[in-house]
């Protein structure tokens, strides 16, 4: 039966996951230390600049998570590569993406209050990001609408791809429309020259790397949980079938 042979991960996978977990933790701690104690205050923002080391990496992870979810959904929809694994991966990545979109909105709001003067403003970038959050919440809800495995998975995959339309809109909104939010410092869609001072740039880079590691670690564990849930369901069915057969013989 499916999944039952894959419930126990190999030793190597377990070790790799543990190493990944430790690396993420070290990365995040180092980012916090550099961000809070080593890097200098900004000439304009002062200490508020320290949010730079977490807010953009969070947004990046959200984008990455939705990218992976969409890719996995595409691979699921493509008949030649269709596999339950891709459905699980899409679900795991989408879930982590929603968490990080939420964190992006919250950290951005905390940053906006002292810099702009407001917690929230209906600026194109903020509005499309809020839409992104709601779209993928909808995707997670869609995943839980009951149905036969492949019907449900296909429905979810299409939902994930529709929701992804908003990702490039969020990314390019600062370019297309007038915005209060500044253009991205890293991965800027335009060729505008940006400037980040020495150790601030390195800490920002470290933030990106360590948040990406955290993402990978979270998705790996969430994927594994989904796998176990599926295996448990299958096993439950097998036990029930065996019981039912025994009943028939007994009669």
């Amino acid at each position: 039966m499916r999944a039952s042979t894959r419930t126990v991960p190999s030793e190597r996978v377990a070790v790799a996951l543990r190493v990944l977990g430790v690396a993420s933790l070290v990365g995040v701690v180092a980012t916090v230390w550099l961000g809070l104690f080593v890097t200098p205050p900004d000439e304009f923002m002062g200490n508020l600049v320290r949010l730079l080391y977490v807010h953009p990496p969070m947004a990046w992870v959200a984008f990455l998570a939705y990218g992976v979810a969409s890719l996995a959904s595409l691979l699921y929809l493509w008949p030649r590569t269709r596999s339950e694994r891709f459905d699980r991966l899409a679900g795991a990545s989408g879930e982590v993406g929603v968490v990080f979109t939420g964190l992006t909105l919250v950290s951005g709001s905390i940053w906006g209050r002292p810099t702009w003067g407001v917690w929230w403003v209906w600026d194109p970038l903020l509005t499309t990001t809020a839409l992104l959050f709601v779209l993928y919440l909808g995707y997670l809800a869609l995943r839980r609408v009951p149905g036969e495995f492949h019907v449900r998975a296909r429905r979810s995959a299409i939902g994930a791809l529709i929701a992804f339309i908003d990702v490039p809109i969020v990314y390019l909104s600062v370019e297309w429309w007038r915005s209060l939010h500044q253009a991205p410092t890293v991965l800027n869609p335009t060729t505008h020259k940006t400037y980040v001072h020495g150790s601030m740039a390195w800490t920002l880079l470290l933030g990106f790397v360590s948040f990406t590691l955290v993402y990978t670690w979270l998705v790996a564990h969430r994927y594994r949980l989904a796998e176990l849930q599926d295996a448990q369901d299958t096993e439950g069915l097998e036990i029930a079938l065996a019981e039912r057969r025994a009943e028939a013989v007994g009669r």
């Binding site: 900004d42 002062g46 003067g117 036969e148 007038r178 069915l237 029930a240």
Partner: protein, 199 residues
């Protein structure tokens, strides 16, 4: 999976269905919940449809139509938003559109001119006056309430408010401070780099 035989139900249709692993899972759970153990596995609730080539074609057509509709909606939303979302008007635009704007509320953007910022204390509270400039056009702004922490001359701001009477003076009740995407250390000479050198 195909031999749910003992119950004597013809499962031929469902068994020949193309690749449906785990399909009876939901059916089983739902029906066992109803408490009738005897009929628990008697009939898979969902019998897969085997599509004829004609139905298949129809379905494909429906899918293509769906994609076209979604793309069209996306395009319309984009076009609509592009023309409708104008988060702010720059000072020169606002002055040019002075007649049509009347006394309506909108967001005005401009650079705070150095040397123009002055606090006015009134019995009703703090008011700050300054001049914003964009492409050489200047607009005098009076803002009611305390400006945000980072408000200072020489930075771009967005003020929310309206023109006063028939004049070109602007009354606002909110200042939003714009920030660039560059980050520069304050007092770079006092910063010690990670390798111990000062820069």
């Amino acid at each position: 999976m195909s031999d749910i035989g003992p119950t004597g139900v013809t499962t031929a249709d469902s068994a020949t269905g193309p690749g449906r692993p785990g399909s009876s899972r939901d059916g089983f759970e739902d029906e066992s919940a109803s408490g009738e153990a005897g009929t628990a596995l008697s009939a898979p609730r969902r019998i897969p449809r085997i599509l004829s080539p004609e139905q298949r074609r129809q379905r494909r057509r429906l899918e293509v139509a769906g994609v076209v509709i979604v793309a069209a909606i996306g395009f319309l939303v984009f076009k609509g938003l592009t023309s409708a979302i104008v988060f702010f008007k720059t000072a020169n635009e606002a002055v040019a559109q002075r007649a049509t704007l009347g006394n309506s509320t909108f967001q005005l953007e401009g650079m705070v001119l150095p040397g123009t910022v002055h606090l006015i204390r009134e019995s009703s509270g703090t008011t700050v006056g300054f001049v914003v400039e964009s492409s050489g056009v200047k607009v005098a702004v009076t803002n009611t309430g305390s400006p945000p922490q980072l408000f200072q001359p020489g930075i771009p701001v967005i003020v929310v408010g309206h023109f006063v009477g028939a004049s070109d003076r602007f009354a606002s009740d909110q200042i939003l401070v714009k920030h660039s995407n560059s980050y520069i250390a304050a007092h770079p000479n006092r910063v010690r780099a990670l390798n111990g050198t000062k820069r």
